[in-house]
Amino acid sequence: MVPAVSAASIRVGVDVGGTFTDLVVLVGGELSFAKVPSTPHDQSVGVMSALGAAGVNAGAVDAFAHGTTVATNALLERRGARAALLTTAGFRDVIEIARQTRPSLYDLRERPPEPLVPRELRFTVRERVEPTGEVESLDEDGLAAAVEAIRRADVDAVAVCFLFSFVDGAHERRAGEVLRSQLPDVEVSLSSEVLPEFREYERFSTTTADAYLSPRLNGYLARLRARLAEAGLPRPLVMQSSGGVIDLDAVAGRASSCILSGPAAGVIGAAFAAGASGHSNLLTFDMGGTSTDVALVVDGEVQTTTGAVIDGIPIKHPMVDVHTVSAGGGSIGWADAGGALRVGPHSAGAVPGPASYGLGGIEPAVTDATLFLGFLADGARLGGEIVLRRDAAEAALASVGERLGLSPLEAALGVVRVAEAEMVQALRVISVERGFDPRLFTLVAFGGAGGLHACRLAEELELSTVLVPRASGVLSALGLAISDLRRDYVRPFICDLSKLDRVAVDAAFAELERLAAADLDRPVFRRLADVRYRGQAFELTVVADDVDLLGAGFAAAHRRRYGFEMPDEPIQVVNIRLTATVPVPKPRLAAPVIDAVTSPRTRPAYVDDEWRELAVFRGDELAPGRRIQGPAIVEFPEATCLVHSGWGATVDVTGALVLERS
């Protein structure tokens, strides 16, 4: 049971990233931050040192929420557990065959991602269920033999995935019972529990990922819990991919539901910060070192998907719909064989990093181009140790420019323009391709360099407003601190709408609500259903609070998303879903306190086709109500914003910079 929390409480959000561990403390509406180096060998060490750096009084903390990349990294680096798969005889290779597609149309050597469980650890047993129920009973002797083989294989986890277990999970439960009694140290994931939905590959894939990741995540969470308890802090809440937090114990058995823990927290934080500034329809734009993440927020609601594929592995849990392109600050500009200037997908990474880091990089990265153009300061310090060197950036730009007949200046402008074209494409994918007109949205820019490109992206997409939140360097940690508690439930309910028995539907929802009420303290429910025209390959998730309105709701959703409806086609319900949340009262972000104000400096920067002396403001010295006319540069402790000509920036009551076309 997780207790509800009050608004005046002290909430702590800690986000563990690859380089830094960020911490946000919220006392009422007062925000404070800390940033310390991450400790990859044991992330909980960095978490404790961030708490120390922030001077948090452990005993006073009411809620501690945590975003972790342990499951993400274990999946991306394929360093999960040694896991086995037990499946229906005749279907041993479902996770290897996948959907029969090859990853690249024309690169005949490229291999599909290796399945998380190799052939020799995939075991079968005779049994069969059909859409209408069991047609072949579970072979108990075969099960005993398979369990013995799994014991000899010495695995840490087993995924049990039988065909049609979403119709009848009895065979899976029986296999789970035998496995748990015979192999008490092995984690067992049943597909009928992890993801009781139809379509075998996606269910098997999600369940296998669960088994593969759970032992590692569980070990980490156990260590973290012990350290926090020692320090007198409350038991941690963990961010799930859905954008809601949940008690550590609930995650322990469901590693597959928190693979996108980190990015989800960032979008939640961006939505919260933008909401505090009065914006609820958002395109979030998070520019990192190697990539850029974009996401969509509609009416304050972070958009989720159940169709995510993470590094080639489909994970069908609800996840914040984040689209990633490989254009970040470290993406490298180069001349191709056809005489075009290209940027990425190769990245300079952290080492050697962009040429201007002076750590041995000789190719020009996006950061080098923005430094050369004066948007970043020559000699600026990044993360304390790295000092940006403009001469190194210039040399790298000159060398690629020479190959294309471009001056270093033209090369710098070109690298920025080409990278921005990729980012525009990403923003179009997340909006236009999802059926939304980007012009109706506010662009929320974060990450160190997000604000440098925001005006140009807004111009390309014809957006009128850009928001750079004050906490843009620690939005993920902020998102953690204010996230609602949430759990998602799904059950198959395959039935034509015309034959739907509303008593049966109510009973099915009521059953999910009973489960949720046992997992959470007085949750708020939202009933949803996955619906399609019969025979369609995709469903739309629509609100199902009133079953009588389901048909109309589906038709409207279909029209909105796809542009038409088909009144004569039979509508079919496929799954029912329940989202249970315990809302956290949202604090009002207090206006920043300005200690001292220095007059703006200037530096030369290349804007509007000429070198100009631009005013450079310190973001943390700008009081609410302050207006700045572009062109100008605003430097925050961890981020820089370029205000273009024709744009005006205003500091709002939360300390955020609101850029609007004048």
């Binding site: 290779d93 005949l108 065909l163 056809g338 200037l341 294309l404 471009l406 074209a421 995709f538």
Partner: protein, 516 residues
């Protein structure tokens, strides 16, 4: 070294335009997939979109399956012969006038700025039924195109932006699932109009003259990249041969011969010696043959080379007359697109592999299975082994060559059809042995629970996918009915509880296997 450029378009604008044009085609594809109804388009992604300039040159394409690669220029050429006006959207599927096989319906929309045509949008989608002798319009035993469905020459589906309802009514009266066809055609029109809007926006922003110059440069760029690759290959003529195992009427091998000549920075593919047209349906229209050749060329290129008219400019194809690979009316052609195209790509790649380090042969077939009853049709293609290469083993259980469509989930198809899948697993060891082994084929066993008609269109049942550089061949495929072998192409009636087994070929191995 500085790259020679004879254009007003600088390297940055070039890069931005290549990306923007690819984005337009991809956005059209996303709209088409999103707004179509049928699973064949929506889930299997058997569709493609492209943008052409006013002169009928392709400037960008988003293809989801390779068989549509570069096969659209005939469609635009056929439409341009009919004097398109602003706002017209033509519809066609005639394989002898811009089409491929009848289920692929192509729409070509004329895009104008102030009444002047500035380009064309093209969408092509595989419709799951276009009439003809069998549900699904993929008959294994057709002998003329008239048995394969309704033939649509290039006709205006929209005239000046208004639907020609009588034409649509006529077409829909000739297909088995008119409502779904209508929805899918609307989706194609929607995708085309998005492409038109984006093209007009580019012109509005940069001006028509600049955009025209950019089109020229983008095409010239793809051509430079392609010629750059060809120039590095040794000049010479390289030959290879293969065969199609029967045409669905006579179960005899049909030879395909290729002489590929690399001369400087160009490639000529000559089919002299290939069989003449056959009575069955493995005849290949010219546009399909072209796309198979272009696929082979595309395999040689780095993946970031854009697909446009420049990519195919260095390629010349010589069609002997008459020929299997240049079908003429009223030949049956439905399997030309799905099977003959595979073999053409295989043989061209086999010829080129004498001078390029390419993988061994893959399964070389799509293993088309069509099972239909009174009011239902199940159509599936089954993956197999990919060939191994010098850098690693071949992937198992994937589509190779000209197809890359998704499978139908077992749990979805058993909900819908009176079928029970008894097994769906890899044929371990079916990939050819070698230093690197070929990928394994798939075993799929289907128990039919009601009387049904079975059609199989498959190949590589007696000629195995070859190994490379000492690697052994992959295992042949097999078609079985209750354990008794069936020929590669077969249509027959089957009864309840009969079991159809399709065992797909393994890929060839690479390098002489080490013996213990």
């Amino acid at each position: 070294m500085s790259v020679d450029r004879l254009s007003a378009i600088d390297p940055v604008t070039l890069s931005v335009f290549v990306s923007a044009l690819a984005g337009v085609a991809e956005e059209m594809g996303a709209v088409l997939v999103r707004s179509s109804y049928s699973s064949n388009i929506k889930e299997r992604r058997d569709c493609s979109c492209a943008l052409f300039d006013a002169n009928g040159r392709m400037i960008a394409q988003a293809e989801h399956i390779p068989v549509h690669l570069g096969a659209m220029q005939e469609a635009v050429a056929a439409v341009r012969e009919r004097a398109p006006e602003p706002g017209d959207v033509f519809m066609l599927n005639d394989p002898f006038s811009g089409g491929t096989h009848l289920p692929d319906i192509t729409l070509v929309g004329a895009v104008d700025v102030d009444g002047e045509i500035v380009g064309y949008t093209v969408t092509r989608a595989h419709h799951s039924d276009v009439g003809g002798m069998t549900p699904g319009s993929m008959p294994a035993g057709s002998r003329s195109i008239y048995q394969e469905g309704i033939i649509i020459p290039p006709l205006r589906l929209l005239r000046a932006g208004v639907y020609d309802e009588p034409l649509l009514e006529l077409v829909l009266a000739n297909v088995r699932t008119p409502q779904i066809r209508r929805a899918d055609l609307y989706a194609q029109v929607a995708a085309g109009s998005v492409g038109g809007e984006r093209l007009r926006a580019l012109i509005g922003r940069y001006g028509l003259d600049f955009v025209r110059a950019a089109f020229d440069e983008v095409i010239a760029y793809a051509e430079r990249r392609t010629r750059d690759v060809l120039r590095r290959l040794p000049d010479g003529t390289y030959t290879a041969a293969g065969e199609i195992e029967g045409d669905g009427v006579v179960d005899a091998d049909i030879p395909i011969r290729v002489a590929a000549t690399i001369a400087g920075d160009s490639l000529r593919i000559d089919f002299t010696g290939t069989a003449e047209p056959v009575p069955g349906n493995v005849n290949c229209p010219r546009s399909v043959t072209r796309s198979a050749c272009l696929f082979a060329l595309r395999v040689l290129l780095p993946p970031d080379v854009p697909t446009n008219a420049g990519t195919s400019a260095p390629l010349e194809i010589v069609f002997p007359q008459p020929s299997l690979v240049d079908a003429r009316p009223p030949s049956a052609v439905v399997a030309g697109n799905v099977e003959t195209s595979q073999r053409i790509a295989d043989v061209v790649l086999a010829a080129l592999s004498q001078v390029v380090d390419l993988p061994a042969a893959g399964q070389g077939t799509m293993n088309n299975v069509i099972i239909g009853g009174a009011d239902w049709t199940y159509y599936e293609t089954i993956g197999g082994g990919q060939g191994a290469s010098s850098t690693g083993p071949g992937p198992s259980g994937v589509h190779v060559g000209m197809s890359n469509t998704l499978n139908t989930p077992i749990e979805a198809l058993e909900l819908e059809f009176p079928l029970r899948i008894e097994s769906y697993q890899l044929r371990y060891g079916s990939g050819g042995d070698g230093i690197h082994c070929g990928g394994d084929g798939i075993e799929r066993r289907i128990r039919v629970l009601e009387p049904a008609t079975l059609s199989l269109l498959s190949d590589r049942r007696r000629h195995a996918p070859a190994g490379k550089d000492g690697g052994l061949a992959g295992a042949c495929g097999q078609n079985l009915l209750d354990g008794a072998p069936l020929p590669p192409k077969k249509t027959c009636e089957i009864g309840p509880q009969q079991v159809v087994s399709v065992l797909t070929p393994g890929g060839g191995g690479w390098g002489k296997p080490r013996r213990a």
